[in-house]
Amino acid sequence: MVNSAFAIEQARLAEARQLPGPCHDDFLRLSRTLIHGPPFQWLLVEAPDEGLRRQVMAALDRVLQRAGLRSDRLPLSDKILDVPMLEARLVNNARQAPVVHVIGRPGWFDAARWEAFNTRRERLAADARARLVFWLDGEAIALASRSAPDLWAWRSGVYAFLPAAAPGAQPAPGGERPLPTPSPNDDGGVDTRSMAERSRRVVEIRAWLEGNPEAPDELLISLVDELGQLLFSLGDLDEALAHWREVVLPLHRRLGDARRQAITMGKIAGILQARGQLDEALRIYQEEALPVYERLGDVHLKAITMGLIADILKVRGQLDEALRIYQDEALPVFERLGDLRSKAIMMRLIADILKVRGQLDEALRIYQEEALPVFERLGDLREKAITMGRIADILQARGQLDEALRIYQEEALPVYERLGDVRSKAIRMGRIADILQARGQLDEALRIYQEEELPVYERLGDVRSKAITMGKIADILQAQGQQHQKPPPA
């Protein structure tokens, strides 16, 4: 099944992050030109290490599959005696698949064979209409550039996947590789970096960590914290969870930092909460985080945690208790501390409850006058998009479907796509489907529920949202079944 452009992009970035650091950028380039470039391309890939080549090729094939592009492999074995035979095989393979990986063997291409290949290039372009990816060693590529300059001028692109140098092979001053540049978001502010930038940063940090296994804990701490936050923001919840549990938490324990242990536990609880494991999340907030902040006298973190506890109560339907906590325990703290952003978020949460209770005018006023201007002033695109989404929810409830649809499509979705926030995007896609369903566009609504929303919840392990979406799908299928069963008009 062909995935949406967003899902393909997510897959591309996720696969790139799993590769060794030096491969990241060229993997993104190569996968993009294969998916989006012209149907015929002749691409040269320098990949001398067989293990790495297999790894990259497998990652590439997974992305291509998501994009609906089948790939075929053509090893340059002894059975391919010469270039005419290679040409025939390429033509044949190109009929079977839009991407053909030609796996070179050292020494197969000599100067004469490159020249022979050069003489066939127009014919190949006409008869083998596929992306021909030649996986070679550097020597073979250099030979092509020297012995067949016209062919070289014809190349669609050159990419390199080289094994990382062994630790210490390129010593930096002091005997260690330099630390990755500190992230501008270490202070916990808004991460405005794009998905690709964050993916690249993940790769940088991992490469550094691999290259410096003996680095002291004090040096590691900010990097591993940032890595966890990046994985979470990129939607890699399994990895983020494992990272926080297995890397970050033990590190803070070793350093005896109770406050940061509690913060990390809170992050773990956040993932469990997103996945619908509310009891365990609540237990962590109440038993592992809150007592620590109380003991340390950290009113700010305590207020945030109280807000998170209220979020869970709200989901469970305990609206009064949730509202009380927001209004009496969290909001006054943020007001006193001058934390405008947290205050605006808290106001929005209060408005959410008012909305559920049917107090739409007051909820709308809070979204528009108390929350939105703060996020706009702070340049917080994500929170602004969330708030716009809430405004659209109310418009939708009031029957102003066109304006609600416009906000979801133009104001909210692009932000989530840029930020790589798969969950929020899936939620908004669900809202769009709700509107389409209300308008009677059942097929398109069904498609969005099934292809854009459900797979995300499945991937995130969010059983609650998945169940709700399954219910909506069942409603549509039932309605369609009833339509089909209606007797034809007389």
């Binding site: 993104l28 380039r29 470039g37 012209p38 003489t119 550039s145 300059p149 001028a153 692109g157 050159v158």
Partner: protein, 435 residues
Amino acid sequence: MDYQPPSHLLEVLQKIEYEEALPDGDPRYVDSREARGSEKTFTRLARKFGWDPASNAFFAPYEKHILFFGHIGIGKTTELRRYAGQLNASRRFYVVEVDVLAKLDRNNLQYTEVLMAMAETLLERLHGDGVGLAAEALEPLQHWFGNVVETQTTTKELSAELKTVAEGGGGIPGLIKLLATFTAAFKTGSSQKSEWQRKIRNDFSALAQAFNTLIRRAEARLAREARAERLLFLIDGTDKMRGEDTQQFFVQDAEQLLAIKTLVIYTAPLHLKYDGRLGGKLDADIVLPMMKLYERNGGRFEAGWRTMRRLLLLRADRCLFASDAEVDRLVEFSGGHPRELLRLLKLCCELAEDRIDASVVQTAIQKLAADYRYFLKPADYALLKTIDSNPADAGNDEQAQELLHRLALLQYNDGTWRRSHPVVRTLEGYGAASG
């Protein structure tokens, strides 16, 4: 509707095809004459064929075979298609464009096959335009084929229908079919290819004479219909032959080319002009210059910048660039070479997320420069540095020609001065070389 350049990076990426020459009238075409310093190139070419575009004075030479040189990928075919449009519009010439790479196999390409392709394309064009020819105009060529068909082995390859054509039937369509049989066999490397090449070579003077007769009769007919006075063949793709085939075609077999008494333009690789073996048989004056961004003294050449910017912004909408600075930087590092500009643009499309900003451009430059690392040797860097320190003193040895062929060295103003490719100058090897 007016042409709109693509405004999404992936759409730009999808449409970049380096080998695509623009047809006459394509909205992406940019007039590059001022930028190349080639305002007079078309006039010079036209005058060599006896026509002065300014005064419309016309007196054509009996024959003229002109080589049209230029770097790989600088737009020779695009420019020639434009020239062909102007020459046709003059009603002095009836231009027959022959794409030899589409019709023939570039491997072991010889004048014999090119001649067949010329005859086939001429008849196709006349037939398509409704220009009829009397039977006696076709008779010499049919007669020549009649002799070929008598050869036992060749006969096996020909159907009864084509044998009838070779014996004088079928008119223009029949002759086209017969010629197409030969060119198709040449293209697919049929077992008969060598034998037919040998047969044509052995009996070439008769074939040339028959073809010349056809040309004269066609010209007479075109003149009677006031369509044109002379035929002019534009042979494209001959700049892309193998090295040894290039030598064979333009040097060893030049006399055979000249045996066709007509007006011809052949595209030719730039290095052929400078290797000293042409021997003056073919007219080797015309070079399509690169677009230049700087004068030899280092001063900016604004016309070059304007043209390259326009070329870029017809391929990718301005909204895709963070600012004009990114557009200019791409232009600068293309060195004025259109395909290199497209290559940089493609790299940007592969690298950028939604906009092409300074860091994307910088990475694209590094990536393109890395391609040159595959073949440049320390001695190459040293030579490039020497040339850069004195652009007019280029030298002309094999090493310099190789660098020209591979675009590490770029040539401006009809070859009066040269400079290294700007991306090459970013490489460590260049920095470390002593020039």
